[in-house]
Symmetry: D2
Subunit: 321 residues, 4 copies
Amino acid sequence: MKKTVGIIGANGYTGSELIRLLAFHPHVTLSFLYSRSNSGTRISDLYPDLTTVCEMVLTDKSEDVDILFLCLPHKESQNWLTQNPVKDETLVIDLGNDFRLEGNFGNRNFIYGLPEINKKQLVGAKSIANPGCFATAIQLALLPLAEKGVLNEVFTTGITGSTGAGQSLQATTHFTWRNDNVSAYKTLTHQHVDEILQQLIVFNNKEVNLNFVPWRGDFARGIFTSSTMKTELELEEIEHLYQDFYAEEPFVTVSRKAVDLKQVVNTNRCVIQIEKSGNVVVIHSAIDNLLKGASGQAVQNMNLAMNWEENAGLNLKPIAF
Amino acid sequence: MKKTVGIIGANGYTGSELIRLLAFHPHVTLSFLYSRSNSGTRISDLYPDLTTVCEMVLTDKSEDVDILFLCLPHKESQNWLTQNPVKDETLVIDLGNDFRLEGNFGNRNFIYGLPEINKKQLVGAKSIANPGCFATAIQLALLPLAEKGVLNEVFTTGITGSTGAGQSLQATTHFTWRNDNVSAYKTLTHQHVDEILQQLIVFNNKEVNLNFVPWRGDFARGIFTSSTMKTELELEEIEHLYQDFYAEEPFVTVSRKAVDLKQVVNTNRCVIQIEKSGNVVVIHSAIDNLLKGASGQAVQNMNLAMNWEENAGLNLKPIAF
Amino acid sequence: MKKTVGIIGANGYTGSELIRLLAFHPHVTLSFLYSRSNSGTRISDLYPDLTTVCEMVLTDKSEDVDILFLCLPHKESQNWLTQNPVKDETLVIDLGNDFRLEGNFGNRNFIYGLPEINKKQLVGAKSIANPGCFATAIQLALLPLAEKGVLNEVFTTGITGSTGAGQSLQATTHFTWRNDNVSAYKTLTHQHVDEILQQLIVFNNKEVNLNFVPWRGDFARGIFTSSTMKTELELEEIEHLYQDFYAEEPFVTVSRKAVDLKQVVNTNRCVIQIEKSGNVVVIHSAIDNLLKGASGQAVQNMNLAMNWEENAGLNLKPIAF
Amino acid sequence: MKKTVGIIGANGYTGSELIRLLAFHPHVTLSFLYSRSNSGTRISDLYPDLTTVCEMVLTDKSEDVDILFLCLPHKESQNWLTQNPVKDETLVIDLGNDFRLEGNFGNRNFIYGLPEINKKQLVGAKSIANPGCFATAIQLALLPLAEKGVLNEVFTTGITGSTGAGQSLQATTHFTWRNDNVSAYKTLTHQHVDEILQQLIVFNNKEVNLNFVPWRGDFARGIFTSSTMKTELELEEIEHLYQDFYAEEPFVTVSRKAVDLKQVVNTNRCVIQIEKSGNVVVIHSAIDNLLKGASGQAVQNMNLAMNWEENAGLNLKPIAF
């Protein structure tokens, strides 16, 4: 029998992307889509691509479900859980950043939901903190070096699509401004740095510095990052580290060929490429920020928590072009 | 047991898009991918998005299969079938234009594969001529008026993404030229006009003129068309015609809301909207040119021919953004 | 000695584009930039591309100037002139639509500022109503046929860049939505149709119908239109009409080669191409909506009114790529 | 009297961009446009935006001129000069990379044409090696720190528009591939690194390492770079260094506000912004790769060499949107 799912904040980008994924998921059925601001509106009126895919009406009432996704602005997940008690047996997956750095909240202990590091703990988990989009791309780019304990001073530039900024109308998401444009933001101060370092340090066992320069790109979906670091390891050795680390991971590919962003758009995959010159290594990684960087990873986490095949509902046709 | 599939011309855009669809199709298995020019190359080396999705190597040998897709340049399907005899029981679906206007070829009689007009004939068919991309978008926009017999002089403008021009490098697909650009081509002389009229006239029972101005757009996927015509029918009456005509069609939606191209990108759907002012009606239609306009419709036709559920393998997550 | 210029509504797209043009114009000097909403702000803080080009501060006080440009939302030009009396000898050029259909306002009689039809009246004029962007592109496409008196039923599709929608944040100018997208709006009801017909009928001397379907394009600058009509005239005859009509016009080119939008972006030019098949003619036209479609044409009108060379300040480097 | 100009390789992107600039330059007249491959073709047939701007026909004959621009593929400038002796009094400006690292060639000694470091030497010069596009953006971002002697280990990521790849048709400039895409190329091995370091070391007086990761962006014009480095200098101190260094430079702006690429597109300007957190400084710089990164800078160099005002012909209207 299919498990029931509710989405809190279903009217946003990550919420709607979850609907796109779950509408065709083999093991779940959508029970309710919660949105305070758009209650009473048909979701396909907000997102016409969902016509015939999902014709549910947004509601401001939540129900008991087997699985609950929180797609709320940062800090609102805690408020919501406080005001809307959820049964202990309900799987809660939070796509915000409320429980990423500190997972204890009431009876719940949120597991950091990057399957490539916490797979065992995620199986059967009841509370999962889904990682941030840049945090996913950058951790996957650096984890094997961290496990080897050789991470030191990393210089990362990352570029993100406009969906990363959400659906609100902003000067920096105005088409006239953003089209054909590139710009930096939150230079060296992006909120994902702490999230990344907290995980990497556990592996690396010594201090890591991450100097991260995020850029806004003139595309809607995707994140591409290049991380540069000094190392005495040989390229071949590094590639082996990565191949080994991700050998069992269905959604991470280590490529010896040039990586480009559209290889992963509309998929849950992360593609990584490693290049080296002298004693400097550069690791490129690419993800779809709404999928492996948000809603796709949330489904992957749900699959693990529910003991389903890890890729259930995630065999997505790449956009490719 | 799964049916075996071969793709001739698997290295092109429509061929590779078929692979993306069939790799996850529940009832088929890919037996071989034929390409004369890229024989010996791994398909995922040509299309890295296919990494982990399909790791087959292109071959210049064909085999007996249950289902054969021809994804060849125009006029080469006839040559190929002549030089490579195919068993009568093999389902052949041609994505080129060789059999659209004249379906008889040797023992085979190609059915025009627009399911919305030929569904009965397609069930159990062994030879299917898959429609052109603009031909699909424009026919779906006009068919209900043709069935009513009121089509007369139609003025259509359509805009297509760059994938419609294929993978060859051309001045008009150079990024530097095409980015932020719009241009007309084959004004009033597009090869799909004959294909469209041949079908419409059967329904309309009297002459139809189609004045078609195709434009190149600065996006990769999708076709958007607006067709203008004089009519005495009321808007409501026209909308009823369309709702009735497409009532049972899983992939055609008649919308009362504004249509935009991205509602259908990465799906097999066609969305139609009708507007009227005075005695002039305008019908907008939008499809993904590689899916409902090519490979997706080919899979839909295969499903019908094989008596499978019409949407098998076609529950695709929209790109949406 | 340079003439003094004031811009009312300098903070909008057309206002800022005027600044870009006038900052380098040989015969004028900017006296003040008026903006109620942004008074006190440096214009280069709103439009950083103006850094070093124009460092003036927006003001909510107007002054006496030789030339006044009104770049206000529709209907606000009348209000502004009522509340802020302007000396009779001041040249007033309105970029809104307040005086296009009806030019009499108090002592002033606004000349419709399409130089290709009203050049004589514009020389020495004191009040000019600058045409709309689509109105410019479509009139220039149809005028020679109107002058010949053969215009009848015209079917036009036009596509516009996002700057046409102004700088306000709207759902349809959100990058995430508009990128890679096409959509129709104001089908058959665009406000420029009346403006176009009012002018064309004077030439054509008999009724003209214009069925106009505007589209939104996924680029920032430019308008491309295709107008389709039945005619018994031969292509060569039509081309001669156009060549003759525009022989003396510095900013209109009749091309025998394919027209694309980027041929005119960042210029004040309009390029027209004519194609014919059977008894159907299609006229393509392309302009930059902010230049020949707005601020560039306003400068052209100023030059004419002031008896300066028509292209003063308008020798603009095309963006080309 | 105007000086005569010839362009060798006028059919390429930098050649055609020179034409766009020189057609309106107050002190020069174009004498001939040389192209071996397109001899006999009207330049406006290759670049229709040049219609009415320049209607010259490409030739394979060169003439004596006052000023000669070489816009040839790398290494072909030397060949050309060897095979086509040029009078000593002719100003030769090479836009290729033949004379950037080693300026001595026959009687000529090419000055490295970055006006912000070599302005005195450029005045009256007869041979100028125009810098590379990335080399311009990165040097302007780092020069003030080099002059202070504090440059050490720099990590730079830069993204370039497709015009940087020239007009040849390549897989990486196919619209279908490049649209919405990002990718890395020549990681740590870009040919401009040597050019950059050769200049910076002169200022810095000690070794500088530059770890440069170039990316391809999905836009046609522009370069945006972010350079990260450790330093004990305070942000304010650094900003003063930059303000001082560029105080007299008409085309370099040090901005305290966020920089985005479109602030400089279609201008000869470079905008720089400095950010700092802890002991890490990030310098962003943006240029138009075809203008300040190529043809615009070549005109600037010509102006200096000829003792004309530095910005003659370079008061370009920004594209802005």
